[in-house]
Amino acid sequence: MANAEPKNVNLRLERFEYRAVFSKTGRAKYISHLDLMRAFQRVFKRAHLPIWHTQGFNPHVYIMFPLALPLGTDSRVEIMDFALTEDIPYGEVLERMNAQTPVGLEIVSVSKPEHKHTDITAAEYVARLKTDKSVHEVAELFGKFMALDKIEIEKRTKKKTINLVDIKPHITVLDSKELEDSFEVTLRLPCGSSFNLNVNVVIDTFCERYGIEISEIYTERTKILMANGENFI
């Protein structure tokens, strides 16, 4: 992959692969996946970093996010791959990018890509919710929820039919806490090429089932993992 040669010989340029870990928090969490692409494109342009363009009929900036982050969820572990046409040290790339990012987007590290995108299998999330019920009650209900044999949700297929899917076997509860005014749960959910489960879907299904009204919610993706349980880098 790293040494793949562009099809168009005339445009063939050396490319150097980079992988950035970045955070998307605060006001930036409302940037949609598509808009994020554009936002970073402009970061590169402003930073005068020589971004590598795809070599097809209609060249465009090569930026790749292996895993979409749900709108409204914070994260400090997001992954973005890109390629430059010059070999610029990782530290310098990081600095130049951070000088140009909008509020809430920050590059945490830049390094060589090690693993393939398809190695991503799961992610961990923290969800903290304030509701119309007492914290203790919500905690108990959540225990009940996770004790169910089956948790079926409706999932729309590509053919626009609706399938019932049991999400129960896909949810791993790592921790749950009763905080002063909110209930907090840490979950591991599958993601990547085979099966994706959105943290909001889990929380919404839970709240809907027990008639819980959310007044405030905070969700954060905390880890992106591979099958062997190690962090994806």
């Binding site: 808009d35 994020l36 936002a39 402009r42 402003r46 909008p102």
Partner: protein, 617 residues
């Protein structure tokens, strides 16, 4: 305002494209509110996507924020989904930078771009918790003000604003805010402040003028009622356009907006004098920026924004005196940086192959031309000085260059228009199509598409057609049907405009103060976002006019005599009434007027305003 921010964040995930409502874009200016003396909410009475594309806002935003102790913030009209949630959750309209409610600002300033956005002003003020009627706002602040092209006849909106700014804003905005900053510590009443403000050239305070009407409903007189108010308020003009303030950077949105690119203004005003075109007269005289200035502004903007496209803005870019030299200079920079250079607003007549080559190096897409009418006679009536030969020559160049979609814009309902002229549109479109088939196969693009788009003509103030009646809906319908029947090829697609919106636009464009009541009534009935077809409620508007005892055809479909006192006659846009009368008479004789470059036709603008061609006979 942590509390409000929390409330906002709770709702954002329930609405479409929430990044429009939370700010934080690159280039947005955040200041410490304890260290600023004047806070200005720049409101655009339409959605974020439309408003963020508006150049005037970018200029005035940068201009005001260049002062350390002034803070200008952006405010847009929320879409229906968010509007509803804001109201249900008691979130007042807030500014995107601070997320503070705008009702606490010193100024709330609107730009009036389009008549059908008037009701959004009322909706936004109400959403902000500010009384919509100026007379109900008795405190000094917030001062609700407006500028923009529609301010040339702001009379229908006179009830809602404290003052209007006429003409170009770069100097007078600064003067107005300086005056406010000086007077604020003295705690003046609103009246005291407005009286001082009325002394500034370009400031029009509507409450300082009494309007009387004749029995037939026309205006009898417009008289100042305070000594500070001049009998005629002059619009402002930037005399040294090359030195005028221009922002070094823009606010770069996350979500895609209508014009998502860097924009550099190359010239202001227009030499052409097309008789239907308001912009062609109210932005006079024709002034240019130097190549160096344009180049520097382009560079600075591209670097700050990171945009991959820069567009040259003006009413007619190909009229730039040294257009080829300018483009050579710019292409040198943009090609090196892999930035696309786009040139909207090109004229057909001087559209050279060379020019085409330059824009083509960017991306081959469609071409858009506006012949405006189908026959030479009617083009002479409207003084659109292009010939069919020129149109054909340009289209040939375009087809041979590989372009395959051509959009042609026309107007229906022009003065002196006959069914023969309407047929002319179909004939012209057919000729363009035939031209494509005559183009050698190896040169032309794969499949051709001609789009014919017709708008209904709306007579506007400060044009030679300000005296003309608008065609009635019946006449327009007949013409649209006739055109539809005259078109025979499936390769020609026709689109037409809704008729009631054009009537409303005509009523508001040349209306007087009595219309304020109808606007208010229609807004109360739920009319806003009128520029969006899915929101436009023709029946509610009609009800509003009827309840207020106002007749739309009095405003839209009546021929006005040359000596009738127009509702905007106390506003001076520097082009003389005599010139408009002269031009109107020539129009009815189908006689054209030369453009400013060919020689001065005496429109009344004085040489002192810095026009490139002014005084050159």
């Amino acid at each position: 305002m942590e509390e409000l921010k929390k409330k906002i964040e709770k709702l954002l995930l329930k609405v479409q494209r929430p990044s429009r409502y939370i700010g934080g874009e690159v280039g947005s200016v955040v200041k410490d509110k304890d260290k600023v003396d004047v806070r200005f909410a720049f409101c655009f009475p339409d959605t974020y996507e439309v408003g963020m594309s508006h150049l005037g806002m970018k200029i005035l935003y940068g201009l005001k924020n260049a002062r350390e102790n002034w803070w200008c913030e952006r405010v847009f009209m929320p879409e229906e989904d968010y509007n509803k949630l804001m109201r249900e959750n008691d979130i007042p309209l807030y500014a995107l930078e601070s997320l503070d409610p705008i009702k606490d600002f010193d100024f709330i300033g609107f730009t009036l771009m389009y008549e059908l956005s008037y009701n959004n002003v009322l909706e936004m003020l109400d959403l902000a918790g500010v009384p919509v009627l100026a007379k109900d706002r008795t405190e000094l602040t917030p001062l609700v003000i407006a500028g923009g092209p529609c301010a040339c006849n702001p009379e229908p909106m006179a009830d809602f604003f404290d003052l209007f700014i006429l003409g170009e804003g770069e100097e007078v905005n600064v003067e107005l805010l300086e005056l406010y900053e000086r007077m604020k510590p003295l705690k003046p009443t609103k009246q005291e402040f407005l009286r001082e403000a009325a002394k500034l050239e370009g400031v029009y305070v509507p409450s300082f003028y009494d309007v009387d009407y004749n029995e037939d409903g026309t205006v009898k007189s417009i008289t100042p009622n305070v000594p500070e108010a001049p009998a005629r308020v002059k619009k402002r003009v930037i005399k040294d356009f090359d030195k005028v303030y221009y922002p070094e950077g823009f606010v770069v949105p996350f979500t895609q907006i209508v014009h998502d690119r860097a924009v550099v203004e190359v010239l202001r005003g227009c030499i052409r004098g097309c008789r239907f075109c308001q912009a062609g007269f109210i932005y006079r005289p024709f002034r240019e920026k130097s190549i160096d200035t344009i180049k520097n502004e382009t560079k600075s903007l591209c670097e700050q924004t990171g945009y991959e496209e820069v567009s040259l803005s003006s009413l007619s870019t190909s009229d730039y005196t040294e257009i080829n030299k300018l483009l050579e200079n710019l292409v040198e920079y943009t090609d090196g940086e892999q930035i696309n250079l786009s040139l909207p607003s090109l004229r057909i007549d001087n559209f050279s192959e060379e020019l085409l080559e330059k824009i083509k190096s960017v991306r081959k897409s469609g071409l858009t031309f506006a012949p405006e009418s189908g026959t030479q006679r009617l083009r002479d009536v409207i003084n659109k000085n292009i010939t069919e030969d020129e149109i054909m020559r340009t289209c040939r160049t375009a087809f041979e260059g590989g372009y395959s979609t051509v959009k042609l814009y026309f107007m229906l309902g022009l003065p002196e228009e006959t069914l023969e002229d309407v047929e002319g549109i179909a004939k012209l479109a057919q000729k363009v199509l035939d031209l494509y088939y005559e183009t050698p196969k190896e040169k032309r693009g794969k499949s051709v598409q001609i789009s014919v788009s017709t708008a209904t003509f709306v007579p506007k103030p400060f044009t030679p057609f300000e005296f003309e009646p608008q065609a009635t809906p019946e006449e327009i319908k007949e013409k649209q049907e006739h055109l539809f029947k005259s078109l025979t090829s499936r390769k020609i697609r026709l689109s037409t405009h809704q008729s009631y919106t054009s009537i409303l636009e005509a009523v508001l464009a040349r209306g007087d103060r009595r219309l304020g009541k109808a606007i208010y009534t229609a807004w109360k009935k739920g009319c806003y976002l009128d520029g969006w077809d899915e929101h436009f409620k023709a029946d509610k508007w009609q009800e509003a006019f009827e309840e207020c005892g106002l007749d739309t055809s009095f405003y839209a479909h009546r021929r006005r005599s040359y000596d009738e006192i127009a509702p905007w006659s106390h506003l001076d846009y520097l082009v003389s009434h005599e010139f408009f009368v002269r031009e109107n008479k020539k129009a009815h004789q189908a006689v054209t007027t030369r453009n400013c470059k060919e020689g001065c036709s005496g429109c009344g603008i004085k040489c002192e305003y810095g026009g490139v061609y002014c005084g050159k006979r």
